[in-house]
């Protein structure tokens, strides 16, 4: 499992691996929003949390189709399926590698990007905490979507359509938590809901992804 994780991380860092792509996309979204809504600090401060969450979600979506498509194309997926690793472990490791290369950089970059959007000081803690709790769910759900669409031509578009609705609960509670933090309200309820969703997806979805992948490999 560690071998697979290090391989995936190494592949992501090498040329054409797509590391930093999501981060750059996130940056561009965040930079474009002030151009769109105009230079009004008060308005930006109000929408900052939501924009950051949306940007993180879209940036995450960008790299999902690479999770299995590349391994499927070069035959590695067949070989991994016949390797001693259980499929559930392969899927979980793939999701973890995706989070480490996409989700975690987004979380770490979020404070800098929040500055660009004039996020009020009280919002930083809850925003980062909500992204830290929420992005693993995005990766795990996305891995499920990638497993569903592996082997399909133009699967990327279908993947977005399938996965975005599944992201709704995470987005609602994540953005709500960040917004309450900005307003100085108690945010423990959305925090618990967000953590619950993430734990639930991590516990259940790898089994679904593995089953779907086995069907797709036939």
């Amino acid at each position: 499992m560690i071998a697979l994780l290090t391989r995936d991380l190494r592949l992501a860092m090498r040329a054409g691996g797509g590391f930093g792509l999501g981060l750059a996309f996130f940056l561009i979204v965040v930079v474009l929003v002030p151009f769109g809504v105009g230079p009004q600090g008060a308005l930006l401060a109000r929408i900052a949390a939501g924009v950051l969450w949306l940007g993180a979600l879209l940036a995450c979506l960008l790299s999902l189709d690479r999770i299995f498509a590349l391994d499927w194309e070069d035959g590695s997926l067949d070989l991994l399926a016949t390797a001693p690793l259980p499929m559930e472990a392969t899927v979980s490791v793939k999701a973890l590698a995706h989070w480490l290369t996409t989700g975690l950089p987004l979380v770490l970059a979020a404070p800098g990007f929040a500055l660009l959007l004039n996020l009020p000081g009280a919002g930083y803690g809850p925003l980062i905490l909500s992204l830290l709790l929420g992005t693993p769910a995005l990766s795990v759900i996305g891995t499920f979507g990638a497993a569903l669409t592996v082997g399909l031509k133009r699967g990327g578009l279908l993947l977005s359509l399938l996965v975005l609705p599944l992201y709704v609960p995470t987005l609602i509670f994540g953005a709500e938590m960040a917004r309450r933090g900005v307003d100085g309200l108690d945010y423990s309820t959305p925090l618990l809901m967000l953590a619950g969703i993430t734990c639930g997806t991590i516990a259940l979805l790898p089994f679904a992804s593995a089953a779907v992948l086995k069907v797709n490999l036939r």
Binding site: I2, D78, R218
Partner: protein, 205 residues
């Protein structure tokens, strides 16, 4: 007995292609699958490897004894030859890749990015993966594609050494490898009869 197929029936894309396939492979034995294109050689190998379920019959093999090598080699272009091999070795719980590098004369190429290899060299790397798995039963689908004559001899030596070491192999190839203990298995007699009209709907389900 390393591998036993009993009354195996397999399907490709919902169409029954082969049925009543019986086969036994013991240590040191190899079978070469023969038959025209589309007879179901690849499907049979994928079924034996566990990538798809059989329609009927059983595949009996010791757990963790099979290793499959398909048309694609599963090579990552941005990893070096040694990194590619070492990854597969680790997946199969091994660490030593030097024997595999030597057997397919990949030593001088070990530091090179796999994406820069020629087609034949990539194939050699894909076949070298079999050696690092340490599994006794090799399932090989057209292993000699894009190999030159020397490399085919290299491959035949590797399979011969594997068989001599108590392994077994089931291959689909059209090239005569001159292997000791390898018998051809003609698949044409196992071709499935056309499906009954009762099953007609299944083609659309």
């Amino acid at each position: 007995m390393l591998l036993r197929l009993s009354d195996l029936a397999i399907a490709r894309g919902g169409m029954r292609v082969l049925e009543r396939v019986n086969l036994e492979l013991g240590p040191g034995q190899a079978r070469v699958l023969r038959g025209p294109n589309g007879i179901g050689k690849t499907t049979l190998l994928r079924t034996v490897a566990g990538l798809q379920p059989p329609l009927a019959g059983h595949v009996e093999a010791a757990p963790e004894s099979l290793v499959y090598a398909g048309h694609a080699d599963g090579i990552k272009a941005t990893l070096s030859v040694a990194e590619n091999l070492r990854f597969w070795a680790q997946v199969f719980g091994k660490t030593d890749i030097s024997d595999a590098l030597d057997a397919f004369e990949l030593g001088p190429l070990s530091g090179r990015m796999a994406g820069l290899l020629s087609a034949g060299q990539k194939r050699r790397l894909g076949l070298a993966r079999l050696l690092v798995t340490g599994r006794p039963v090799w399932l090989l689908d057209e292993p000699t594609v894009s190999l030159d004559r020397d490399a085919v001899a290299m491959f035949a030596r590797a399979v011969g050494a594997h068989l001599a070491g108590g392994g077994a192999a089931l291959l689909a190839t059209h090239i005569e490898l001159g292997l000791e203990g390898a018998e051809p298995l003609e698949l044409a007699p196992f071709k499935a009869a056309p499906a009954d009209l009762d099953d007609f709907d299944e083609a659309f389900l």
